[in-house]
């Protein structure tokens, strides 16, 4: 094998990719501009909707007797609650979103005077309407306030202090380090996002320089030249790796910009605060580089096997979906993998990466991840080189 020839193929493919508008779009435009805009858009509209809902007073209807005057008074005093009086069809109005909450006070006794009894207030809300949820929160606070006031009054009447019935009070203190807090949040979403970025970046170029070349008839030109099949495969493989890694890095830059904007307020988390040391970056590289390598090798293999780009895209889709599925598992908090599971590619990358982000280094997991990724990548590359020699693959139409 001649590495100079591998480099020649690599340079040729990179040059071709740079001159191909579609590759540039998938490698640069989508990760650097489209993803951030998408996330910013989603974040902006969610925030706007939330702010608007928070700003609006909650329309609350009260039906029933007037034996809780102080509760009604408290509700009326709350600036964010607006009591409305409906004569009929209150439930329909709630379902239609015309009012956000319906409080039913049953006709029983005067709770303020009858201190031996208790009252059950029925509060109806609509969980599918955000404004109803907000109204629920606001009214709960008012009712709680009313309840506390009544408890205090009842206790005072029998000469008992409020503290008497609250012998223990708790105070919760979070001892988690700031870095670890950030790591937990990042560890949940980042592996998943990175898997998507790597695969999306590699997909187009892997298909274009294999199945696409077959389609354009340029593959045969390479095959009759003085290049070994392995040299061709490696040159193309390093190209896909470069494009995939570039796409991932640009995607991360783009998403960082999006998440640090006021829309997400993650800026407060101050990612810079997280003390990412050089050795940690090296460990990130140890986990992510094999993943880029693995994705590139598998996608390249599929591209070489496929008759044309269309067929390759069909084969690539389930692989992409499986990768997303494995990546999604890392989204679940509290999920822990058994040792042998660290040999499952993609799943191991996402979990090992998650561990690193949370500040823990399990060498056993790192080694398992590396071994499984390297073995599968090598197998995929050797199979790809073998497929290049198979007439049934090269000349099938």
């Amino acid at each position: 094998m001649n590495w100079k020839k591998v480099l020649l193929i690599y340079c040729k493919e990179i040059m071709g990719a740079i001159r191909d508008r579609r590759t540039l779009i998938s490698m640069i435009v989508i990760p650097l501009f489209f993803y951030p805009l998408l996330f910013l858009g989603i974040g902006y509209f969610t925030l706007m909707g939330q702010e608007k809902s928070e700003a609006l007073p909650s329309l609350v209807a009260v039906v029933g007797t007037d034996n809780t005057p102080r509760l009604i008074e408290k509700l009326e005093q709350d600036e964010k609650i607006k009591l409305v009086h409906l004569k009929e069809n209150e439930v329909e109005a709630l379902e239609a979103g015309e009012i956000y909450l319906l409080i039913e006070i049953p006709e029983s006794f005067d709770i303020e005077k009858d201190q031996e009894n208790y009252l059950t207030i029925i509060v109806q809300y609509n969980s599918t309407i955000q404004r109803s949820q907000i109204a629920r929160k606001r009214v709960t606070t008012v009712i709680e306030d009313y309840r506390q006031q009544m408890i205090q009054e009842r206790l005072e009447q029998i000469g008992i202090d409020l503290d008497y019935i609250q012998p223990i009070q708790e105070e919760w203190l979070d001892v988690a380090l700031e870095e670890r807090k950030i790591g937990t949040i990042l560890g949940m979403i980042l592996p998943y996002i990175i898997i998507i970025l790597i695969f999306v970046g590699a997909m187009h170029s892997a298909v274009d320089i294999t199945a696409g070349e077959k389609e354009r008839g340029t593959m045969a030109t390479l095959l009759v030249s003085q290049l070994s099949r392995l040299e061709i495969v490696l040159g193309k493989y390093f190209t896909v790796m470069t494009i995939s890694a570039t796409s991932m890095l640009l995607g991360l830059i783009g998403l960082s910009i999006a998440f640090l904007t006021p829309v997400y307020a993650l800026g407060e988390l101050s990612l810079i605060k997280a003390k990412f040391s050089l050795s940690l970056f090296f460990l990130f590289f140890l986990v992510l580089a094999p993943l880029v390598g693995l994705a590139s090798a598998i996608l390249l293999l599929i591209g070489i096997f496929a008759r044309n780009s269309k067929e390759a895209s069909t084969y690539v889709t389930p692989i992409y979906m499986s990768a997303i599925f494995l990546g999604m598992i890392s989204l679940s908090q509290g999920m822990e993998l058994a040792e042998p599971m660290f040999f499952i590619p993609i799943l191991n990358n996402s979990f090992t990466f998650k561990e690193l982000l949370m500040g823990t280094v399990y060498w056993k997991h790192l080694v398992s991840t590396l071994i499984s990724n390297i073995v599968i990548t090598l197998l995929a590359l050797l199979t790809a080189a073998k497929l290049f020699k198979k007439e049934s693959v090269l000349f099938r139409s």
Partner: protein, 249 residues
């Protein structure tokens, strides 16, 4: 065999097709091509011409038989064979995003030529083929004729002694086809061994020193045009061709 640059002995190629089962694309074919000669493989579509040329170009391996190119075995010394040949067919496409100069330079480097050697040879080839005016134009902006010239330039940049052309004039207009024919003649004058396939009688008649008529994988007859006319006194090459094919069917 003196000067024999290509020796094909009892070449057989069998495919397994899902629909058709076992298909013998080339069946016990024998022929030789010599230095400074043009050898024409004449046959209709599906005759086995392309398969034979693919085997010569090491893109396929024979099921049986022995094939030597420039003295090298096509299976055992495939790399040496690829050094000795320039291959051109409808399948050998060009990179749309590269200029003519970049394309030829790339293949020159792949074939192990030095930067200086590439520049010298490229200038010479571009002048001979009349490509200088479009040497910096991207391939996707070239006409079919220009692309074919570039394909030839790409195939001969390393100055191989054997040229394998699979239907090099297919899809070309009359003027470009004539230019290609002239170029092939020029290569013969330079002492190269050329094998080319065609199904156009007049092309074979005008150009070939030796003609092999192939049909359904079988070589029906091989010889110079004069030999063939003596053996089958039915008229011109077209008549000979149809007589042989009809006899076979």
């Amino acid at each position: 065999m003196p000067n024999a640059m290509i020796q094909v002995n009892h070449l057989t190629k069998v495919f397994y097709d899902k629909k058709r089962g076992k298909v013998t694309a080339v069946n016990d074919v024998n022929f030789c091509c010599h230095k400074g000669k043009i050898f024409g493989l004449l046959g209709p579509n599906g005759a086995g011409k392309t398969t034979t040329l693919r085997i010569l170009a090491t893109m396929m391996t024979p099921t049986a038989g022995k094939v030597l190119v420039n003295g090298y075995h096509v299976v055992k010394a495939a790399h040496k064979v690829r050094q000795s040949i320039g291959f051109l067919s409808g399948e050998t496409g060009l990179y749309d995003r590269f200029t003519s100069r970049e394309t030829v330079r790339f293949f020159g480097k792949i074939n192990g030529l030095s930067e200086q050697g590439i520049s010298k040879r490229m200038t010479q080839i571009f002048q001979t083929l009349g490509m200088t005016h479009f040497q910096d134009v991207r391939v996707d902006r070239l006409s079919t004729g220009m692309k074919q010239k570039l394909s030839i330039a790409r195939a001969i940049i390393h100055d191989p002694p054997v040229l394998i052309f699979d239907e090099p004039t297919v899809g070309l207009d009359v003027i470009t086809a004539r230019a290609v024919i002239e170029t092939i003649r020029e290569f013969r004058n330079q002492g190269k061994c050329i094998i080319f396939s065609t199904h156009q009688m007049h092309e074979a008649e005008k150009l070939c020193d030796e003609i092999a008529i192939i049909h359904l994988g079988k070589l029906l007859s091989v010889g110079t045009l004069v030999d063939l006319k003596k053996r089958f006194p039915v008229g011109d090459l077209e008549e000979i061709f149809f007589k042989l094919i009809n006899n076979r069917e």
